[in-house]
């Protein structure tokens, strides 16, 4: 056996606190070590060339690199070994940066620890076994969860690349929050200009299966080979027959708050979600339909000239074979009731931004007329950062869009009712995107007052709202009368996000949004291969960035599909069937459902494609029948012996 040890300076990251020459000399003395070298950046091309050349010319058969965390560069060095003809699992990394030089200021101690870590890596690598990498095929289909603008865009991109798409949306129509907005900043373009053509394209695309009123009920499998259970709720109206004649709507005796209009008006139990909804078909709200609840009424079926109402329709569940999954579940607006000092829910003229959007939308409850109690407001106060940058409600993060949507809303007000006094209370104006600063400037020029400092309280005096705040620039408190207060409510993770999180094994970042694989270089991937994030489920973002990200996610998600195959990690659990007692304890701890009992032999079996090599099973096994390749007990013991 000939082991090569390579020690990286990492510029001064390691060299400043570890005596590289001393460590190199020490490594040379370790058992089986044939070559010990050091270099400024082992990860650079010449660094890797040292390894490759030594394998080829000096017949090394085990490699240890002492450098940074294996998380970043283990694949780099494994590739170097592979390209030199050495099995990449004859490689081991000693982390002398994150676990040594960065945390030990004392050079002497740091050097000693680096030696220990290298000795331990050498001990382990000498017991390594060659492992084989396998490949499996890929189902050429993508599951997109969520039909907001992110999900729509991602679906279109995937479909346009020639792959099948299952677009699963839990509401009766795709469109998401985007459909609720009136206009977009900074160009004040009508939302429908962007949305309508995209909805039409989704509806008519031969490669897209649009599944509304549907939810993901179960996920099994692994990248390239997921099996997804999709539950489809009944619509009770036949989309092929419904002509949207509105007759049913007129006879329905039920009146409910209209979700699409944020409860500002009411809808019947049989309804069209919104004007541009696809499929263009009514739907029945089963929880509130009198017929479906207790068999009474049924008037809609009677009046429907096409016979489109089908109370007998039942839900169904089916399984789809999926290659990769895109999560685009969007956000929930912050509930301003959590900030009781702002009086939301108490005063009817304190509304949220999304309510305001509906109020000024031509297809909204007032046909776009800005009316509060039937009158045009003369004094409007917008309050920013409601539920954002606010540790008292546990949302430290910035919601990224509120500054701009507030500016837009103020602009729209000034356009429609020019003599209205508009005040915006802000902390910092975050007009960072393309054309945003210019828009902010335009809004200021329209006579909108920006006052730094968010209000402490809103209360009513003589039937008028009073906004009480500190002007941080003047350094003095003030009170502002208002007919209407609009709260720029932030974006939060969806309340129902936990279900999907556990189905897909996603992680959350501290802001409770879904966590990406790497904050800089893999913002669209998740820690699970084959599952990707798009849009605001990963964190607040504006429409432009959401669309950009959705395109990107489509790209990431189609890579395995274009390639047609994926590599299976060879570090997996292995069952010694002679030792296995068939107790089944390991099956219970396996997070990945990779273990199954052989019903005849009564021993455990491992599905290597599902196994992630986490090691939970072999730690649980009472008879030590399961071992983890590459982390076998004797390998770990050898490694530990050197540092203990």
């Amino acid at each position: 056996m000939k082991i090569g040890v390579y020690i990286c300076h990492c510029g001064i990251n390691i060299a400043a606190t570890v005596d590289i020459e001393k460590v190199t000399a020490f490594a040379q003395t370790l058992p089986h070590v044939a070559i010990a070298r050091n270099y400024q950046y082992m990860c650079s091309d010449p660094g890797q060339d040292w390894i490759k050349n030594d394998i080829k010319n000096n017949g090394l058969d085990r490699i240890v690199v002492a450098a940074c965390s294996p998380r970043m560069h283990e694949p780099t060095y494994r590739n170097a070994c592979r390209s030199a003809g050495l099995n990449p699992y004859f490689f081991e990394m000693a982390n002398i940066r994150e676990q040594c030089s960065w945390v030990h200021p004392n050079k002497e101690e740091g050097t000693r620890k680096a030696m220990d870590l290298i000795a331990s890596a050498v001990a382990k690598v000498s017991l390594h076994e060659p492992l084989q990498e396998n490949e499996v095929g890929v189902t050429p289909a993508v599951l997109v969860i969520g039909g907001g603008i992110a999900g729509i865009q991602a679906s279109l991109d995937v479909a346009n690349s020639g792959f099948e798409v299952y677009l699963v949306e839990k509401s009766p129509s795709p469109g998401g929050h985007f459909a609720q907005l009136d206009r977009t900043f900074p160009n004040l373009e009508e939302t429908s200009v962007t949305l309508l053509p995209k909805l039409k394209e989704v509806e008519n695309h031969p490669m897209i299966h649009l599944l509304t009123q549907s939810e993901v009920a179960g996920v099994e499998g692994f990248v390239g080979n997921f099996k997804v259970k999709i539950r489809h709720d009944p619509r009770y109206v036949d989309p092929n027959k419904c002509t949207c004649c509105k007759k049913c709507e007129e006879v329905c005796p039920v009146s409910l708050p209209n979700e699409f209009n944020m409860g500002l008006d009411r809808r019947p139990a049989i309804y069209l979600p919104f004007t541009q909804a696809i499929p263009r078909c009514y739907t029945i709200d089963p929880k509130n339909c009198l017929y479906l609840q207790n068999g009474e009424c049924g008037k809609c079926r009677e009046v429907c000239p096409e016979g489109a109402v089908r109370f007998e329709e039942v839900g169904m569940e089916f399984e789809a074979k999926i290659g990769t999954i895109i999560v685009a579940t969007g956000y929930d607006p912050f509930d301003p009731r959590l900030k009781p000092e702002l009086g939301y829910g108490l005063y009817p003229n304190v509304i949220t931004a999304l309510e305001f959007e509906r109020l000024i939308s031509p297809d909204g409850p007032t046909q776009g007329k800005l009316l509060i109690n039937g009158k045009e407001p003369k004094n409007i106060v917008f309050i920013q950062c409601v539920g954002s940058r606010d540790k008292t409600v546990n949302n430290e993060y910035c919601s990224r869009v509120c500054c701009m949507f507030t500016a837009k809303q103020a602009h729209l007000v000034k356009d429609r009712i020019p003599d209205t006094r508009v005040t915006i209370c802000y902390i910092d104006i975050r007009a960072f995107g393309k054309g945003y600063e210019q828009f902010y400037e335009t809004v200021q020029k329209k006579g909108v007052f920006y006052r730094k400092g968010v209000p402490s309280e809103i209360y009513q005096r003589d039937g008028k709202l009073i906004v009480k705040a500190d002007d941080e620039l003047l350094g003095e408190p003030y009170e502002e009368e208002a007919d209407l207060v609009v709260l720029a409510t932030g974006l939060t993770q969806r309340k129902d996000s936990d279900r999907l999180r556990s189905l897909l094994k996603l992680s959350l970042s501290p802001d409770r949004f879904y966590l990406e694989a790497h904050p800089k270089l893999r913002p669209l991937d998740t820690a699970t291969d084959g599952i990707f994030l798009a849009g605001t489920c990963q964190g607040p973002k504006d429409i432009q960035d959401t669309i950009s990200q959705a395109h990107g996610t489509a790209s990431r998600a189609t890579i395995p599909l274009f390639a047609g195959r994926v590599r299976i990690e060879p570090i997996t659990a292995w069952v010694d069937v002679l030792m296995c007692a068939g107790c089944g304890l390991c099956e219970q701890v396996c997070e990945y459902r990779a273990l199954k009992m052989d019903p005849y032999r009564k021993v455990m079996t491992v599905n290597e494609a599902l196994c992630k090599g986490c090691g939970a099973c072999n730690a649980t096994c009472p008879s030590s029948a399961i071992s983890l390749r590459h982390f076998k007990t004797e390998q770990i013991i050898a490694q530990l012996r050197e540092v203990c």
Partner: protein, 749 residues
């Protein structure tokens, strides 16, 4: 018909312009899908601005550590054709089939041979500011931009002939020998002088040195003493006898009439080419004007003798006291020689034209000769020097001699006399100074032709003066690297390559330029050395930077540091109304790094609005504030120096009162501006700019689509953005490009 069909076909290959993080991400995404990608980068290495950053916000990941694997993956990907040091010249066609012409600039280093051993580096005499370190560190003219560069191959920075050499009628490589003197390589310097000048001693003393008037250094203070440096070499360097013998002997004979500067040079050059040369001089000694025009206290006779002593050794026959018309007949000469060169000086022109029938003179009484070829109209007879041009300088006369020698050689060999002659004589350099004449007159030190010469430079003075050279030509063509390169990878004659590519889709990811803070003169950038901009600060913090990661200003750790936000952003005064989107956060990060590296430092950040909008940004901003970094909402108005310290003056907009802050270091959070080169690209593709001058996306909400079908945007060329947004957009551009490329895949033959 065939051609049309081919144009309709979708080519399943993509072109990506710019190999920063956006270009690399897009390339990897497309290549991973099995399509071929051509990735064109104008710099010698891929990596872009991200490679220059120290840490990235808000997670403080080491930027070089996370980008290096991507760079290596990009370079090693079997589907990626990496074209570094290359530029796009032309793009034609439309989505599905673009025809792209790429110019691959010569590196002057054979990448297949270079092993990046760095043996050339210590030999190179030319030290230049390192662009990668934003000029805070230095590099040689042969260089790799940074240790992790991909491809890891050296590049020679040759910017063209510098003005000194271009101006010299003999094209003496002045920058080259000055650079070698600066390194103390005196012998090599003199050898380099000898490559172009046959009589270096004479020119060291009496050259009118037009080079100095054009020296780029004249823009700073006064020109480099190019001529005096040459004299230093001539006076002090012990030369081994130079070997001027021709490599082959030719049978043809050439007569040179006149032993002045022109005749001597023609004789020297023709003899080196192998001709049998006879030099006729009417006086009793050689030299012409050199000996009877200059007093010996200006041009010591021993210098002339030493220079001219080579003639005899070379085998040139010298006939003194031989005067045409008296003891020498033209008929005789024409019979015995294959060619004749008349270099008779301005005073001899009249006499010679009298004795040679058919030789025409002009109104000034000078011999008429073709200005390009020096042909007189008489077969085999050429004329040059003062006798043709009228009185001129010594170096100009010598250049005439050289010109004559070239014409005679070509005429004897039956070659075209005019082809390619425009490169002779005085040229205009791409680095030519635009300084007005009046300034030049002030700064230039003219030779005193009649005063006695001074003692000349000492070694220390010479090296000192040589170091003043700005090396404006980049590589000085001294040839030292080639001498020391063991794999023989240095190729001086390397030519640019023109490559034609056919692609289905194009992604633009050309990135940004940092705003030039000199446009905000009130902040003193460029005046005070301790006012830096954002990327300079990155290099100063970086472990691979010029200070190895220590924050040092003139060798000292600064104690009081002021960061100024929005320099060149949100500022209509400089035409940049937009927000640069990243400066708030990179400043927060830099403030944190300073706190880490200089625990006791007093750090103040002057901001307008803090825009901490991305994932984890607000949290990071909060963390930084807790590290005793003071954020002041302020309008900084001016940075000036008082008692050796910088003072930042401004108004605290929260307190509503003015303040002054002392500082050892001021860091300007310079914004992002569009690349200068983008304008050419926009014209080429018929694309438009948005009001912020970045590439305009198609109307609508999609930042990737452009109005030109098949062309997509990624990264900062569309507008400022941070790394994750750039990476997401790059993947997005890849998706849209692949939707086109997929149509060209697996087409039935």
């Amino acid at each position: 018909m065939m051609k049309d069909d081919k144009l309709k076909e979708v080519i399943p290959e993509a072109l990506i312009i710019g190999a920063g993080i956006a270009g690399m991400q897009a390339a990897l995404d497309i290549a991973d899908k099995g399509f071929k990608v051509h990735l064109v980068e104008k710099d010698p290495s891929i990596g872009g601005h991200m490679a220059q950053l120290d840490k990235t916000f808000p997670t403080l990941d080491c930027s070089a550590c996370i980008i290096t694997p991507k760079m290596v993956d990009t370079a090693n990907h079997p589907n990626i054709n990496l074209l570094t040091y290359s530029e796009i010249i032309r793009i034609e066609g439309k989505a599905g089939h673009f025809k792209v012409t790429v110019r691959k600039k010569p590196r002057y280093v054979d990448v297949t041979k270079c092993t990046a051993c760095a043996d050339c580096v210590p030999q190179c005499p030319v030290t230049l500011p390192n662009e990668f370190d934003m000029g805070l560190g230095m590099r040689k003219a042969i260089y790799i931009p940074f240790p992790q560069a991909v491809p890891l191959k050296y590049t020679m920075d040759r910017r063209g002939t510098p003005p000194c050499t271009a101006t010299c009628p003999l094209h003496c490589n002045a920058q080259g020998y000055v650079a070698l003197i600066s390194q103390g390589k005196l012998k090599e310097a003199l050898a380099l002088v000898r490559e172009t000048l046959p009589f270096p001693g004479i020119l060291a003393y009496v050259c009118a040195h037009p080079c100095e008037r054009e020296c780029k250094r004249i823009e700073v203070d006064r020109p480099v003493s190019i001529c005096d440096l040459k004299r230093f070499l001539v006076d002090h360097v012990e030369e081994t006898e130079p070997d001027f013998l021709p490599s082959e002997e030719k049978s043809q004979k050439v007569a040179i009439i006149g032993g002045g500067p022109a005749g001597l040079t023609a004789a020297f050059d023709l003899r080196r080419m192998g001709y049998r040369v006879t030099l006729f001089e009417s006086r009793g000694e050689l030299g012409g004007l050199l000996t009877h025009g200059f007093p010996s206290y200006r041009l010591p006779r021993e210098v002339v003798e030493k220079d001219l002593s080579v003639l005899e050794k070379m085998g040139i026959e010298v006939r003194l006291n031989a005067e045409v018309g008296k003891n020498l007949s033209f008929e005789e000469l024409q019979k015995n020689f294959d060619a004749i060169f008349l270099a008779v000086g301005s005073t001899g022109a009249g006499a010679i034209s009298g004795s040679l029938k058919g030789l025409k003179t002009n109104r000034r009484g000078m011999i008429q000769a073709d200005p390009v070829t020096l042909e007189t109209g008489l077969k085999g007879i050429f004329a040059g020097g003062d006798g043709v041009t009228g009185p001129g300088t010594i170096v100009e006369s010598m250049a005439q001699g050289r010109k004559g020698a070239i014409s005679i050689d070509r005429s004897i060999r039956g070659e075209d006399l005019r082809l390619g002659r425009e490169s002779e004589g005085r040229q205009v350099s791409p680095m030519q100074s635009l300084l007005p004449d009046s300034k030049r007159d002030e700064r230039e030190i003219l030779p005193h032709m009649v005063k006695p010469i001074g003692p000349g430079l000492t070694l220390e003075e010479a090296i000192e003066d040589a170091k003043r050279c700005l090396n404006c030509g980049g590589c000085s063509d001294c040839g030292e690297c080639a001498r020391y390169c063991q794999p023989k990878a240095v190729v001086y004659g390397m030519k640019e390559e023109i490559i034609e590519l056919h692609v289905g889709a194009i992604i633009l990811s050309t990135g940004f330029d940092p705003f030039d803070p000199k446009l905000k003169p009130e902040f003193g950038y460029g005046v005070y050395p301790n006012v830096l901009h954002g990327i300079e600060m990155e290099r100063l913090c970086s472990a691979s930077g010029p200070t190895k990661g220590e924050i040092l200003i003139q060798g000292k750790k600064p104690k009081e540091i002021v960061f100024i936000h929005c320099v060149g952003s949100r500022d209509k005064a400089v035409g940049n109304e937009y927000c640069s989107r990243v400066c708030c956060m990179y400043t927060a990060k830099q403030a944190h790094l300073v706190r880490d590296k200089i625990p006791g430092a007093h750090i103040t950040v002057l901001y307008m609005d803090v825009r901490a909008f991305g994932k984890g940004f607000e949290e990071f901003y909060e963390r930084v504030q807790k590290e005793e970094i003071i954020y002041r909402r302020a309008n900084p108005s001016e940075v000036y120096r008082r008692n050796g310290k910088l003072v930042v003056r401004g108004e605290d907009t929260l307190l509503g009162e003015p303040f002054e802050l002392e500082a050892d270091l001021v860091v300007l959070a310079s914004g992002l501006v569009p690349r200068v080169e983008d304008d050419t690209m926009k014209k080429m593709l018929g694309m438009e700019s948005s009001s912020d001058r970045f590439y305009a996306e198609a109307p609508g909400l999609d930042p990737i689509l452009t109005s030109t079908k098949g062309v997509f945007l990624a990264g900062c060329c569309q507008g400022p953005k941070d790394i994750p947004d750039t990476v997401a957009q790059a993947s997005g551009a890849a998706a849209l490009a692949c939707a086109i490329l997929a149509k060209g895949r697996n087409k039935p033959e």
